[in-house]
Subunit: 146 residues, 2 copies
DNA sequence: CCTGAAATGTAGTCGCAGCTACACTTTCTG
DNA sequence: CAGAAAGTGTAGCTGCGACTACATTTCAGG
Protein backbone atom coordinates (compact mmCIF):
# COMPACT_ATOMS: atom_id res chain seq x y z
CA UNK A 1 0.00 0.00 0.00
CA UNK A 2 2.57 2.52 1.12
CA UNK A 3 5.29 1.35 -1.22
CA UNK A 4 5.34 3.84 -4.11
CA UNK A 5 5.92 3.02 -7.79
CA UNK A 6 9.70 2.62 -8.05
CA UNK A 7 9.82 1.11 -11.54
CA UNK A 8 11.69 -2.04 -10.56
CA UNK A 9 13.80 -2.12 -13.62
CA UNK A 10 16.23 -4.88 -14.33
CA UNK A 11 19.91 -4.09 -14.57
CA UNK A 12 20.33 -1.44 -17.26
CA UNK A 13 22.30 -3.09 -20.03
CA UNK A 14 21.96 -6.68 -18.90
CA UNK A 15 19.53 -9.16 -20.49
CA UNK A 16 18.26 -10.47 -17.18
CA UNK A 17 15.03 -12.42 -17.34
CA UNK A 18 13.38 -9.93 -15.03
CA UNK A 19 10.61 -11.50 -13.06
CA UNK A 20 8.41 -9.15 -11.13
CA UNK A 21 8.18 -10.19 -7.55
CA UNK A 22 6.89 -7.18 -5.72
CA UNK A 23 3.42 -7.70 -4.36
CA UNK A 24 3.58 -11.03 -2.56
CA UNK A 25 4.99 -9.37 0.52
CA UNK A 26 2.17 -7.14 1.67
CA UNK A 27 -0.23 -9.77 0.37
CA UNK A 28 0.33 -11.84 3.49
CA UNK A 29 -1.86 -9.81 5.83
CA UNK A 30 -4.82 -9.90 3.46
CA UNK A 31 -4.36 -13.64 3.04
CA UNK A 32 -4.87 -14.00 6.76
CA UNK A 33 -7.92 -11.77 6.68
CA UNK A 34 -9.31 -13.98 3.93
CA UNK A 35 -8.74 -17.12 5.95
CA UNK A 36 -10.49 -15.65 8.94
CA UNK A 37 -13.44 -14.35 6.96
CA UNK A 38 -13.88 -17.70 5.27
CA UNK A 39 -13.62 -19.63 8.49
CA UNK A 40 -15.98 -17.36 10.38
CA UNK A 41 -18.54 -17.71 7.61
CA UNK A 42 -18.09 -21.47 7.75
CA UNK A 43 -18.62 -21.58 11.49
CA UNK A 44 -21.62 -19.32 11.37
CA UNK A 45 -23.16 -21.53 8.71
CA UNK A 46 -22.39 -24.85 10.33
CA UNK A 47 -22.56 -24.19 14.05
CA UNK A 48 -24.52 -20.97 14.14
CA UNK A 49 -21.82 -19.02 15.88
CA UNK A 50 -18.14 -18.27 15.63
CA UNK A 51 -16.32 -18.31 18.93
CA UNK A 52 -12.70 -17.24 19.26
CA UNK A 53 -11.72 -20.60 20.68
CA UNK A 54 -13.18 -22.47 17.73
CA UNK A 55 -11.48 -20.14 15.32
CA UNK A 56 -8.21 -20.61 17.14
CA UNK A 57 -8.55 -24.38 17.13
CA UNK A 58 -9.33 -24.56 13.45
CA UNK A 59 -6.46 -22.29 12.53
CA UNK A 60 -4.03 -23.95 14.88
CA UNK A 61 -3.19 -20.80 16.79
CA UNK A 62 -3.70 -19.73 20.38
CA UNK A 63 -6.99 -18.14 21.28
CA UNK A 64 -5.17 -14.93 22.10
CA UNK A 65 -3.87 -14.71 18.56
CA UNK A 66 -7.33 -15.35 17.18
CA UNK A 67 -8.82 -12.61 19.30
CA UNK A 68 -6.16 -10.13 18.26
CA UNK A 69 -6.64 -10.90 14.62
CA UNK A 70 -10.38 -10.59 14.93
CA UNK A 71 -9.71 -7.18 16.44
CA UNK A 72 -7.83 -6.28 13.29
CA UNK A 73 -10.72 -7.50 11.13
CA UNK A 74 -13.02 -5.28 13.15
CA UNK A 75 -10.69 -2.37 12.63
CA UNK A 76 -10.82 -3.06 8.90
CA UNK A 77 -14.58 -3.23 8.87
CA UNK A 78 -14.85 -6.91 8.05
CA UNK A 79 -16.16 -8.25 11.34
CA UNK A 80 -18.02 -7.28 14.46
CA UNK A 81 -18.13 -8.75 17.95
CA UNK A 82 -19.06 -7.84 21.48
CA UNK A 83 -17.31 -9.19 24.57
CA UNK A 84 -18.20 -12.79 25.35
CA UNK A 85 -20.62 -12.91 22.44
CA UNK A 86 -19.34 -14.51 19.23
CA UNK A 87 -17.85 -12.99 16.12
CA UNK A 88 -19.90 -11.94 13.11
CA UNK A 89 -19.15 -10.64 9.66
CA UNK A 90 -20.11 -7.27 8.27
CA UNK A 91 -21.49 -7.09 4.77
CA UNK A 92 -17.99 -6.49 3.48
CA UNK A 93 -16.81 -9.47 5.48
CA UNK A 94 -19.50 -11.71 4.06
CA UNK A 95 -18.73 -10.57 0.55
CA UNK A 96 -15.08 -11.34 1.09
CA UNK A 97 -15.88 -14.73 2.53
CA UNK A 98 -18.11 -15.57 -0.41
CA UNK A 99 -15.47 -14.57 -2.92
CA UNK A 100 -12.82 -16.53 -1.07
CA UNK A 101 -14.99 -19.59 -0.81
CA UNK A 102 -15.80 -19.58 -4.50
CA UNK A 103 -12.17 -19.11 -5.38
CA UNK A 104 -11.18 -21.90 -3.07
CA UNK A 105 -13.57 -24.32 -4.73
CA UNK A 106 -12.32 -23.38 -8.14
CA UNK A 107 -8.71 -23.86 -7.17
CA UNK A 108 -9.41 -27.23 -5.62
CA UNK A 109 -11.40 -28.31 -8.64
CA UNK A 110 -8.66 -27.29 -10.99
CA UNK A 111 -6.01 -29.10 -9.01
CA UNK A 112 -8.16 -32.22 -8.97
CA UNK A 113 -8.77 -31.85 -12.69
CA UNK A 114 -5.08 -31.95 -13.48
CA UNK A 115 -4.62 -35.02 -11.34
CA UNK A 116 -3.71 -33.80 -7.87
CA UNK A 117 -4.95 -36.20 -5.17
CA UNK A 118 -7.88 -34.91 -3.13
CA UNK A 119 -5.94 -34.65 0.10
CA UNK A 120 -3.08 -32.64 -1.40
CA UNK A 121 -5.47 -30.53 -3.47
CA UNK A 122 -7.38 -29.38 -0.41
CA UNK A 123 -4.24 -28.73 1.53
CA UNK A 124 -2.30 -26.88 -1.15
CA UNK A 125 -5.31 -24.89 -2.25
CA UNK A 126 -5.30 -23.31 1.17
CA UNK A 127 -1.99 -21.65 0.42
CA UNK A 128 -2.36 -21.23 -3.31
CA UNK A 129 -5.76 -19.57 -3.42
CA UNK A 130 -4.49 -16.33 -1.99
CA UNK A 131 -2.20 -15.82 -4.95
CA UNK A 132 -4.54 -16.54 -7.79
CA UNK A 133 -5.38 -13.42 -9.75
CA UNK A 134 -8.72 -12.80 -11.41
CA UNK A 135 -7.25 -13.47 -14.82
CA UNK A 136 -5.93 -16.82 -13.71
CA UNK A 137 -9.17 -17.61 -11.96
CA UNK A 138 -11.08 -16.95 -15.15
CA UNK A 139 -8.73 -19.24 -17.03
CA UNK A 140 -9.33 -21.97 -14.46
CA UNK A 141 -13.04 -21.61 -14.91
CA UNK A 142 -12.79 -21.81 -18.66
CA UNK A 143 -10.58 -24.86 -18.44
CA UNK A 144 -12.98 -26.66 -16.15
CA UNK A 145 -15.80 -26.06 -18.61
CA UNK A 146 -13.72 -27.14 -21.62
CA UNK B 1 9.07 -24.85 13.91
CA UNK B 2 8.54 -23.93 17.53
CA UNK B 3 4.81 -24.58 17.45
CA UNK B 4 4.30 -28.05 18.99
CA UNK B 5 1.75 -30.65 17.81
CA UNK B 6 -1.57 -29.47 19.27
CA UNK B 7 -3.84 -31.90 17.40
CA UNK B 8 -6.06 -29.27 15.80
CA UNK B 9 -9.23 -31.20 16.15
CA UNK B 10 -12.52 -30.05 14.79
CA UNK B 11 -15.42 -29.35 17.06
CA UNK B 12 -16.09 -32.53 19.04
CA UNK B 13 -19.58 -33.59 18.05
CA UNK B 14 -20.07 -31.27 15.12
CA UNK B 15 -19.78 -32.47 11.51
CA UNK B 16 -17.76 -29.47 10.38
CA UNK B 17 -15.96 -29.93 7.10
CA UNK B 18 -12.63 -29.39 8.83
CA UNK B 19 -10.07 -27.97 6.47
CA UNK B 20 -6.55 -27.97 7.77
CA UNK B 21 -5.06 -24.55 7.58
CA UNK B 22 -2.21 -24.65 10.00
CA UNK B 23 1.14 -24.45 8.23
CA UNK B 24 0.65 -21.52 5.89
CA UNK B 25 1.54 -19.11 8.65
CA UNK B 26 5.15 -20.02 9.41
CA UNK B 27 5.56 -20.86 5.75
CA UNK B 28 5.87 -17.18 4.94
CA UNK B 29 9.43 -16.73 6.15
CA UNK B 30 10.69 -19.67 4.15
CA UNK B 31 8.89 -18.35 1.09
CA UNK B 32 10.96 -15.21 1.40
CA UNK B 33 14.13 -17.21 1.83
CA UNK B 34 13.22 -19.06 -1.35
CA UNK B 35 12.73 -15.85 -3.27
CA UNK B 36 16.05 -14.52 -2.15
CA UNK B 37 17.93 -17.72 -2.92
CA UNK B 38 16.41 -17.90 -6.36
CA UNK B 39 17.13 -14.27 -7.11
CA UNK B 40 20.69 -14.41 -5.85
CA UNK B 41 21.34 -17.45 -8.01
CA UNK B 42 19.84 -15.60 -10.96
CA UNK B 43 22.02 -12.59 -10.41
CA UNK B 44 25.14 -14.63 -9.94
CA UNK B 45 24.43 -16.47 -13.17
CA UNK B 46 23.52 -13.46 -15.24
CA UNK B 47 25.67 -10.65 -13.89
CA UNK B 48 28.34 -12.58 -12.05
CA UNK B 49 27.59 -11.02 -8.70
CA UNK B 50 24.68 -10.33 -6.38
CA UNK B 51 24.79 -6.93 -4.76
CA UNK B 52 22.35 -5.90 -2.06
CA UNK B 53 21.19 -2.94 -4.10
CA UNK B 54 20.35 -5.11 -7.10
CA UNK B 55 18.53 -7.58 -4.90
CA UNK B 56 16.57 -4.75 -3.33
CA UNK B 57 15.67 -3.27 -6.70
CA UNK B 58 14.47 -6.57 -8.08
CA UNK B 59 12.39 -7.34 -5.03
CA UNK B 60 11.02 -3.87 -4.74
CA UNK B 61 12.24 -3.31 -1.20
CA UNK B 62 14.71 -0.91 0.36
CA UNK B 63 18.35 -1.92 0.40
CA UNK B 64 18.24 -2.02 4.18
CA UNK B 65 15.56 -4.66 4.06
CA UNK B 66 17.54 -6.68 1.57
CA UNK B 67 20.65 -6.53 3.72
CA UNK B 68 18.78 -7.60 6.83
CA UNK B 69 17.18 -10.49 5.06
CA UNK B 70 20.49 -11.59 3.63
CA UNK B 71 21.76 -11.54 7.19
CA UNK B 72 18.99 -13.97 8.08
CA UNK B 73 19.92 -16.21 5.17
CA UNK B 74 23.48 -16.23 6.44
CA UNK B 75 22.26 -17.14 9.90
CA UNK B 76 20.35 -20.01 8.35
CA UNK B 77 23.34 -21.23 6.43
CA UNK B 78 21.99 -20.44 2.98
CA UNK B 79 24.22 -17.54 2.01
CA UNK B 80 27.56 -15.94 2.70
CA UNK B 81 28.84 -12.42 2.25
CA UNK B 82 31.55 -10.15 3.47
CA UNK B 83 31.16 -6.39 3.93
CA UNK B 84 31.08 -4.51 0.65
CA UNK B 85 31.69 -7.69 -1.34
CA UNK B 86 28.63 -9.30 -2.92
CA UNK B 87 26.38 -12.06 -1.64
CA UNK B 88 26.95 -15.71 -2.44
CA UNK B 89 25.10 -18.92 -1.83
CA UNK B 90 26.27 -21.84 0.23
CA UNK B 91 25.78 -25.32 -1.11
CA UNK B 92 22.50 -25.50 0.76
CA UNK B 93 21.53 -22.16 -0.73
CA UNK B 94 22.32 -23.31 -4.25
CA UNK B 95 20.39 -26.49 -3.75
CA UNK B 96 17.41 -24.51 -2.53
CA UNK B 97 17.66 -22.11 -5.47
CA UNK B 98 17.78 -24.97 -7.93
CA UNK B 99 14.76 -26.65 -6.41
CA UNK B 100 12.84 -23.39 -6.37
CA UNK B 101 13.74 -22.59 -9.94
CA UNK B 102 12.62 -25.99 -11.17
CA UNK B 103 9.40 -25.76 -9.24
CA UNK B 104 8.76 -22.30 -10.59
CA UNK B 105 9.12 -23.47 -14.18
CA UNK B 106 6.76 -26.33 -13.56
CA UNK B 107 4.13 -24.12 -12.00
CA UNK B 108 4.34 -21.63 -14.85
CA UNK B 109 4.13 -24.40 -17.41
CA UNK B 110 1.12 -25.93 -15.71
CA UNK B 111 -0.65 -22.60 -15.57
CA UNK B 112 0.07 -21.97 -19.23
CA UNK B 113 -1.11 -25.45 -20.06
CA UNK B 114 -4.53 -24.85 -18.56
CA UNK B 115 -4.87 -21.61 -20.44
CA UNK B 116 -3.54 -18.88 -18.18
CA UNK B 117 -2.02 -16.00 -20.18
CA UNK B 118 1.77 -15.80 -20.01
CA UNK B 119 1.86 -12.55 -18.12
CA UNK B 120 -0.53 -13.70 -15.39
CA UNK B 121 1.09 -17.11 -15.23
CA UNK B 122 4.50 -15.66 -14.46
CA UNK B 123 3.11 -13.26 -11.96
CA UNK B 124 0.85 -15.64 -10.07
CA UNK B 125 3.41 -18.41 -10.10
CA UNK B 126 5.59 -16.19 -7.98
CA UNK B 127 3.10 -16.43 -5.16
CA UNK B 128 1.73 -19.86 -5.85
CA UNK B 129 4.98 -21.77 -6.11
CA UNK B 130 5.70 -21.50 -2.42
CA UNK B 131 2.59 -23.46 -1.57
CA UNK B 132 2.88 -26.34 -3.97
CA UNK B 133 3.64 -29.60 -2.20
CA UNK B 134 5.77 -32.35 -3.68
CA UNK B 135 2.72 -34.46 -4.32
CA UNK B 136 1.07 -31.68 -6.27
CA UNK B 137 4.27 -30.94 -8.09
CA UNK B 138 4.51 -34.56 -9.18
CA UNK B 139 0.93 -34.39 -10.42
CA UNK B 140 1.75 -31.27 -12.42
CA UNK B 141 4.67 -33.01 -14.01
CA UNK B 142 2.60 -36.02 -14.91
CA UNK B 143 -0.09 -33.83 -16.38
CA UNK B 144 2.35 -31.92 -18.53
CA UNK B 145 3.63 -35.18 -19.96
CA UNK B 146 0.15 -36.54 -20.58
C1' DC C 1 45.76 10.60 -5.65
C1' DC C 2 41.85 12.82 -4.06
C1' DT C 3 37.27 13.64 -3.90
C1' DG C 4 32.37 13.07 -4.35
C1' DA C 5 28.71 9.99 -5.85
C1' DA C 6 27.00 5.55 -5.38
C1' DA C 7 26.83 1.58 -2.85
C1' DT C 8 26.82 -0.54 1.57
C1' DG C 9 26.04 -1.00 6.32
C1' DT C 10 23.83 0.36 11.00
C1' DA C 11 20.30 2.12 14.13
C1' DG C 12 15.92 2.72 15.45
C1' DT C 13 10.79 2.57 14.51
C1' DC C 14 6.38 0.44 13.16
C1' DG C 15 2.78 -3.16 12.45
C1' DC C 16 1.49 -7.71 12.78
C1' DA C 17 1.20 -12.57 13.87
C1' DG C 18 2.71 -15.67 17.26
C1' DC C 19 3.19 -17.08 22.14
C1' DT C 20 2.58 -17.49 27.52
C1' DA C 21 0.72 -15.90 31.67
C1' DC C 22 -2.72 -14.00 34.15
C1' DA C 23 -7.44 -12.02 35.05
C1' DC C 24 -12.11 -12.05 34.43
C1' DT C 25 -16.83 -13.68 32.62
C1' DT C 26 -20.20 -17.32 31.48
C1' DT C 27 -21.91 -21.47 31.80
C1' DC C 28 -22.45 -25.88 33.40
C1' DT C 29 -23.19 -29.06 37.10
C1' DG C 30 -23.60 -31.24 41.54
C1' DC D 1 -27.25 -21.64 43.64
C1' DA D 2 -22.43 -21.98 44.59
C1' DG D 3 -18.23 -23.52 42.81
C1' DA D 4 -15.56 -25.38 39.12
C1' DA D 5 -14.61 -25.61 34.35
C1' DA D 6 -14.52 -23.56 30.16
C1' DG D 7 -14.30 -19.74 27.48
C1' DT D 8 -12.87 -14.89 26.81
C1' DG D 9 -10.11 -10.97 27.20
C1' DT D 10 -5.66 -8.26 28.39
C1' DA D 11 -0.73 -7.58 28.94
C1' DG D 12 3.65 -8.12 27.61
C1' DC D 13 7.19 -10.54 24.97
C1' DT D 14 9.47 -12.21 20.49
C1' DG D 15 10.73 -12.36 15.56
C1' DC D 16 10.33 -10.61 11.18
C1' DG D 17 9.75 -7.74 7.24
C1' DA D 18 9.31 -3.11 6.04
C1' DC D 19 10.73 1.69 6.34
C1' DT D 20 13.70 6.19 7.06
C1' DA D 21 17.71 8.40 8.48
C1' DC D 22 22.34 8.48 9.13
C1' DA D 23 27.25 6.69 8.90
C1' DT D 24 30.76 4.41 6.42
C1' DT D 25 33.30 2.36 2.51
C1' DT D 26 34.38 1.80 -2.51
C1' DC D 27 35.59 3.26 -6.62
C1' DA D 28 35.73 6.26 -10.92
C1' DG D 29 36.92 10.71 -12.85
C1' DG D 30 39.29 14.64 -12.90
Amino acid sequence: MSRPPEPILGLPTEPTQARRFGKTRTAQSSAIAEDYAELIADLLASVGEARPTDIARRLGVSHATAIKTVARLKREGLATSRPYRGVFLTEAGEALAARVKARHRLVVDLLRAVGVPAEAAEQDAEGIEHHVSDVTLAAFEAYLQR
